[in-house]
Symmetry: D2
């Protein structure tokens, strides 16, 4: 089978030439002065991306590693946590919290809705003593974005540590880590940044560090340890790693974040918003139903679509991949069979990639006997893309 | 300005990963044994591609170099030539023939039509003593393909050398160099093969070599000399070059031709035919007019479309490039302002690239006030692509 | 500062073109069928490399992750372990075992010596009831190789699980995982395989799996969990990952192991042995002292050299890097200031790279006032390299 | 056979990562605005490199194309030319001049000597009416550099056009095109610039253009035509090419020249000078004889060494390539069997590459029974390299 022509999945997603060339550089020693400076610079770029002055820790391993490391770091037996759930990932996070001994209160909304700040406020007030509030900023499995901008400050005001999984949010939607009072933010390079999946981009506040240091169960001398990074790398003057970084992934993240900032973060976010809207309009015009109940909280990274009557997710995806060379995604976890996801991240949010996604999706459904208005769909997608800027020529 | 997201031009066109990686290999000495063997293997691959057992000469320089070299090689003052003209390139070739002193009879059809074998036969019979018959197999500037399969044998039977410019034909449409009696065929790597433009792929028959050797004006000791390649490289046992080959372009051509043959020449040609048909159906459904009078002879490499009333070629292309990141082509030579060309060559003939071309083109025209039925166009394009193979899944 | 011209360090080390190009491929979705097949094929290649029919688990994270995962997986409180120590890494491993609650007996030799199988046998017999025996096959920090071939079967006979850290051994020296009775072997791609550092190559026997499954403390639902990989990936038919693999690192490991096997494992091992011997002869001829007491157990991956009187490790390395563009390594852990290490791994074990290492090292010492016989050193290195095969030409 | 580990030949030679990555970029349309701007920028960079404000023409084809194009452009039947010969290339150039009908006076010195400005002055004065003076700045086949700085102004003062083949000089040794009165300078990207071989870097003065325009035999409408480039590209405002440029080679030259200028031309030239001196000292210390009679005019690009008694060039090179993976060069043309050439160009002039060249050469000769003092040679080479800058560390 041939490599895919288009990877418009839920991530890892298609990378830019700059990222590819960075990943393909000759391998060098992690203690080479050039590499060490590049590692430090990557931290600085990530801080700029997260709009934070807090410590950045680059752990080697996909973002789940950073999330686990942070959760194990702060949770002590009996720690009172408010886990805000609007999707699969948040649900899993709650299970982890309980595993580590936390007392978990869960505020859950259906997975096709976003969290409601008013409800969160109510919950915070009802209990008044949460040590940790956690949410997933952008639920990749269902394409729903949560109002971290409103919830973050509430949690902070309530005296809790604010934990945000921003894996598929960072680089695709607004994220003001410091202004919003986020103590722990874990991003992933393989979503809107379109970099390699092998790294966790962790931001840790002083309050969070203090909690981790107080916690006797926090991982120490472990690949899961944030403290090892703080003690060996940060406190040691950023010259000695506790673990060998993945040289090519650091090169890739350096390039991905650098490109995002060079293009301009606002411009990049606008590009993701437009691509998402173009896909949504296309999908609706074809007569399909978006997964999120309201477009107000549809994510910028992927467009989730309810699997229409008569269709099956897996065979449809396989058919689209085989016939058209386009890789889209289905649901994830308990939603696996219930929805499709069209990715529009990184380079995939540029140019006519949304047309490719909508065309492949619509035509694939048609091939398999699902009645969609393909022409209207593609036209609607192109309509949004054409609005992007004024006409310049003639 | 950002690099284009999609290069769907008349060539050079988007290359495959295999070609890119070949081009990006470390430079090595042209006399390195590994490179020399790769050069020889490239010749063998090119021979297989052209379906010939004749000599292959790889000259360093875009195909115009090979065409000029061959023409200067065979033309002596007063040589009687039949130049078959259905487009810009053939017209230019005739001018060259005259420059070199040939007596040129030209059989010309309008540039939106293909040559008619019956007319050619008539012309051959009327004169009976042509030393050279020349045509352009696929006229890239106007997207018209000529019936070399029928004309080649006629010329051969008439005792003439058959010269074919197959620059944009090879690798995209059927080409049986030996079976069709072609004496001189010059291909380009940057069209359907989607390789680098820096090389002329020349096939030279024994009859052609004899003519060149007899010709006192044939270039010798010159970058334009085919004889230098024969004497130094071929007769010397393929160990010594008359001129330094462009190492990375040889790597690129090796990869491009290798990939074409590995995919299967028939499969690759079918892919180009389908992509071309998809574009034509899309363009027609949008209400636009194809440049070729009949689709029977529409080329596989590019789809040429008449510039519609009210549109201008250059500003439209500039707008599409700027707004959508898609690079299409206009006309060439005297046709520059009269038509658009959508390329579908190499990887651009795969997957949904024709949808990208048609979408960008149609939406771009719409943006500039030209009334086209964009939805119908994209639907028609997708309709053709969906027919490609039977439905496999479900 | 410029990138290094030569990376001849203790790893990560210089990679081949094939690895670089694999790392630089476009990113694709981890559930793309092409990627999934590549992932499975990488497992098969790794199995061939380790000469094993046991399960291979590819964890995303440098080899320390696999080592920690395996140790946490098998160790239960009170588990009786024999930790064989001849260097820094084994010492650290013992600390981990104790952290996880094991009862650890340590057999330690000076760090410039290898383990003695007779002593190990004695220790095994004295206790008779070890559940786990652990060693480091090749101690990268000190360039010492231990006799796993002899110790492995003893441990197995004694009824213990045999754990081997083969991070810098695999691909550079003989390793017969199954024949030697190794239950858990953890390799690293960034040493003799010259791939990316971001992955742990884990081999797990049925006995080891059984121990892990019995262990209530074995990581589950964790980035550190081998069981997650077994349950989700292996038992699920190798279609679903518990964690997102690092796409480019998988590509890189696939290429690195593939290249090793294509070149021929015996040939590759012989190449490392020769390069190591060439470096040792060069170092000795310069009048310096090897770190290992006997060359019988000098490692194939790096040549460790005692820091001579009057020299300091860090400034010397910095000078060599700055003046000559060559990156060598110093010691590690408690040996940091006591030795230098010249790497000869992967492509660095080919051609004249040992000459580059010895030249840079010797000349750098001279520059800083250390008296070495540079000429004799380089001559000796070249002498070994010239013996490699018989003279072929003339 | 494996690719070479080291390409230290007379060119094409090893390229830098920056050049490789530029060559490996996706192919784009030559009329894409990004490419057109890159093409124009390449011209500006080349002008800076040549220190000229004259027109730069980038012809597609190795430098021989530019040399032939310029010679055919200026030579009219009977044109009186002074051809200054100190090597193979200049000799060939004279033959070309005669072929084109010039009246050629040749001032020739033995091929192991450089031209003598006093003799040139004498010759100029004796005739007084040369229309063209020609020399090869750096004779790659024999490693001899000629005093263009002195001869150029003389020729200019004498009213002649000054033609300089600077193929292997540019980027490796001082070249002040304008200050030295050079009218036509043709450089090659594959020597000291370590770029791809597929391009001629031509500088043409107004006087030279005037001569070409006056010449009825100057190529027009030909791949060999400088006028086509002037009329179509330059006069047309640099938007239309007469011939399709080789996209990847333009990318490669852009990168190669850009890197040279970014590193600093003076620094790059000094690097070549040092590497050349290091090789010469090494060769002499081994007891071998340099080809140039005096080191005063030994070239910066390659070190030419007389083939010692008892050795044969070809088998020695084959042995070195096979055993050590190092590609060196022999002589060229009539010197083929008489000398060896060690290249030190581009990245090959950095770091310890001269040590690799000298080691491979010396050890290879030893292997084949030639008595050389290898140890002394390598020591001498390293001695020069260590002098480069003061000791920084400790």
């Amino acid at each position: 089978m041939h490599e895919p022509d288009f990877t418009l999945s839920a991530g890892p997603t298609m990378s830019s030439l700059r990222v590819q060339q960075a990943q393909g550089r000759p391998m060098i020693f992690d203690y080479d002065p050039v590499f060490q400076e590049r590692f430090r610079e990557t931290e600085r770029l990530v801080a700029e991306l997260f709009q934070t002055t807090k410590d950045v820790v680059l752990m080697q391993g996909e973002a789940v590693l950073g999330i686990e490391a942070a959760a194990r770091g702060v949770v002590t037996p009996g720690l009172k946590c408010l886990n805000l759930v609007s999707g699969v990932y948040a649900k899993w996070f709650g299970a982890w919290l309980r595993d580590y001994g936390a007392e978990v209160i869960e505020l859950e909304v259906p997975y096709d809705e976003a969290l409601d700040p008013a409800q969160v406020r109510e919950e915070l007030e009802r209990h008044g003593d949460f040590a940790l509030v956690a949410l997933v900023h952008s639920e990749t499995p269902s394409g729903v974005e949560n109002p971290l901008a409103e919830i973050g400050p509430m949690a902070k005001d309530a005296g809790a540590l604010m934990f945000a999984d921003v894996v598929s949010a960072v680089g695709g939607t607004e994220l003001l880590t410091d202004e919003w009072g986020v103590d722990i933010a874990i991003g992933g390079p393989q979503k809107c940044l379109a970099g390699p999946p092998g790294m966790s981009l962790c931001v840790i506040s002083e309050d969070a560090w203090a909690a981790i240091e107080r916690n006797p169960n926090a991982p120490r001398g472990s690949f899961l340890s944030l403290l090892d990074w703080r003690d060996t790398w940060i406190k040691g003057g950023r010259v000695k790693y506790p673990y060998t970084p993945s040289v090519s992934d650091v090169n890739g993240v350096h390039a991905a974040v650098g490109e995002c900032l060079d293009d301009g973060l606002d411009e990049v976010i606008a590009r993701h918003a437009t691509a998402a809207r173009a896909c949504r309009e296309g999908v609706k015009a074809m007569g399909l139903e978006l997964w999120p109940r309201s477009e107000d909280y549809a994510a910028h990274c992927v467009t989730a679509v309810r699997c229409p009557e008569g269709a099956e997710v897996k065979p449809t995806l396989a058919h689209i991949r085989e016939r058209y060379g386009v890789m889209l995604s289905g649901g994830y976890g308990e939603l696996t069979e219930r929805l499709f996801r069209l990715g529009h991240m990184g380079p995939g949010a540029r140019s006519l990639y949304p047309v490719v996604a909508v065309s492949a999706f619509g035509r694939g459904l048609l091939d398999l006997g699902v009645d969609v208005d393909l022409a209207a769909g593609v036209e609607a997608t192109l309509g949004v893309l054409s609005e992007r800027h004024e006409v310049v020529a003639t």
